[in-house]
Symmetry: D2
Subunit: 144 residues, 4 copies
């Protein structure tokens, strides 16, 4: 399955007084790309939450290699790196759309909860989606 | 009843590349002061929403008189200017805590909805709170 | 001159606990559409600011007609309604991309300042751009 | 030197449709506490940047142990864990002000740049501040 990249035009309101994108925004773009990825795979989050399931963030990390500026265009690549019964993990690359320079890289991990806060096995509850995700996992060192 | 003013220390992440507070943040501080005001009057929003009631914003306006910067401290004054069965209106002044200079002024209006989206009469549903609010309305031209 | 509409996919991080877009974000999208409009007309803000000019917001207003949700797609229409030597004014409509329902409408006004904070006449400093803008002003009641 | 803790009242605009604080906001509170810490030590960032120095974020990480909600009050503890000539590192704990439960923990690293983007040795440029910071470094395993 071919995943369409997410493009993000950098907005004035995303900058700070250093004149560059505030570092908290890249964390938001990780989410932007992750939910778009899941939607492309068939896990629409708006639908997902209507069924009483949520997927909170367990951890996040980011390395800021080079700043982005207002007027730049970002491409956000997202890779599924691990899927287990209760948890899934992603890695990210944010790239300048013009010169392909890598700007930010990072990772995040997530679980599934029902509306009482109990962990949910996606494998049990949504096997079809879980299986699709499982088959999309990219091993380390593998060509992306 | 004496309402305690809301103080807001301006954060780096609230600035933009102009080097000043991004104008959308003052709108957030209006909310910050409004919910604090309602809490002081006895309408705790976290409790309020647990009962299935919400209070969306109907309109907002702001005049930006002078910019605020990272490191400044803001005082946000909020005044209840109108209370009817279904609607209430506020006005705001954002003031520099040091020199008392007025930086931003604005207004907002709000209604009440239950969780099916139907307008709710606060006067009927929460008379005690409604009555308290009604008695706090400040007429135009009145000394604040 | 035909102005291309700005499309904005609503992000999860733009919602609040009411389950709808937080009202401060529409103010950001006004900016998103305004700067895109100016860029299309030839006033690139990144370039503009390199010359030491800035354009702070003087006032903003918005009426929230109907909430937008995560997963919705917005179209933001922007109209130039007034251009004078020192000031310009815009009006906005935010529309659901699917059913064309109007969700939010609003206005904003802006001036130009140099890096010492002195008001700048765009008509004098950038006549070509000023003139282009002047010819794009939409009169009230005019068909958009 | 005794560092005063930063308290942060959780705002409605910091929540998302899951009904909890959006995870990107904790990253902002890390900054809030870090800049407050530096200010207490004598490195006022507003002054610092007037001299043409900036301090961008190199990396960030966070583990989300338990969600915070609108109406909660957070305490943000910040610890300086490493100071070298060109780089400094912090760790963070975000704690519920009422029950002292740890909610989020994380780390960040930072460098110093002048306005041409060249790395700056804080040890050379601001020895007094650098030395003060150096003496505040907390070793791992040390009682905080």
């Amino acid at each position: 399955m071919n995943i369409k990249q997410v493009k993000h035009k950098i907005q004035y309101y995303e900058t700070d007084k250093m004149g560059i994108v505030h570092h908290s925004n890249y964390i938001r773009w990780f989410e932007e790309a992750r939910l778009d990825f899941l939607e492309q795979v068939g896990l629409n989050f708006a639908e997902f939450e209507k069924e009483g399931l949520i997927s909170p963030v367990l951890s996040i990390s980011a390395r800021y290699l080079s700043p982005m500026k207002y007027g730049d265009n970002a491409i956000i690549n997202v890779y599924l790196t691990k899927v287990s019964n209760y948890k899934f993990e992603f890695s990210y690359e944010i790239i300048d759309a013009i010169n392909q320079e890598k700007k930010v890289e990072g990772e995040s991990s997530h679980c599934f909860l029902n509306n009482t806060g109990t962990p949910v096995s996606l494998k049990k509850e949504k096997f079809e989606i879980w299986n699709k995700l499982y088959n999309m996992v990219i091993k380390k060192g593998e060509n992306k």
